[in-house]
Symmetry: C2
Subunit: 158 residues, 2 copies
């Protein structure tokens, strides 16, 4: 993928605040809206999920997930041309005692300061999603299959 | 669900243009952005999908789908408060010779006039999705499990 599209991918992942999380529920597809924070190097995405949410129950039962991040539709352009990336991943719950937890929490709260209270509640947990494979639709007919390495390459763009 | 939330649901379904389509790919969740047109009575949603798209291949293999429609994030409010509805459904391809095809095509083109050319292409098909069950998040802590009847009730609101 060329450097212009790497920059477009990085901009998309760093600009948007909401994603569509695909999970399995009784073996059928299920999609929920979630907030996400991207790691600075774009190697992972963090979600802060309530244990009570259907999608969290689904993840606890089967860790395989999909995360789709799309450019917000502001009504200005043909919606088919909106940039979006569909990521396949596995959701890993972060142990509160683990070394990465505090950093992930800081990252998440920098993006969503209003979530601070939820971190003091027992029923919320941080999940880390690393991209395994992904498909980036950068525009009409511009479809790229991405590797984790390409997320990191995008992360290196300004 | 009270009449105010029925109106909010109808407004959401009639205002947005894009949805997140959840499908199964090799048994794992997959999510893609799609355009949709809602039937006037909100009893069904129409997608116009290319046979070449991954999500269409997934549907042809397993008809079970999820459709999530969320209020566009315009950056103005806490994204957790964005209204969204997660629908469980089964995607049914419309036969071009069937009685409902022309009406569905008109409905879709009224919403997306720029899609006209794609209707002349052999590799695009219309799919009809009727809601089986759904979950409507109308705001903080306002979560409703919906029946198909409630979509129709929403459809009767102005």
């Amino acid at each position: 993928m060329d450097s212009e599209n790497l920059r477009h991918l990085a901009l998309l992942l760093r600009t948007e605040r909401v994603a569509s999380l695909g999970t399995l529920r009784d073996g059928a597809p299920s999609v929920a809206m979630v907030l996400y924070a991207a790691a600075p190097d774009l190697s992972a995405f963090y979600l802060h999920l309530s244990r009570l949410a259907h999608h969290t129950q689904n993840i606890r039962h089967d860790h395989r997930v999909a995360l789709m991040i799309a450019e917000s539709d502001r009504g200005a352009v043909d919606p088919q041309s909106l940039r979006r990336v569909s990521i396949q991943s596995v959701a890993a719950m972060l142990d509160r005692e683990s070394s990465g937890y505090d950093e992930a929490m800081k990252l998440y709260l920098a993006r969503f300061p209003e979530a601070e209270m939820s971190f003091s509640l027992g029923d919320f947990n941080l999940y880390r999603l690393e991209p395994l494979t992904a498909r980036f639709i950068a525009g009409f007919g511009q479809i790229f299959n991405l590797t984790p390495g390409e997320f990191r390459s995008a992360g290196e763009t300004a």
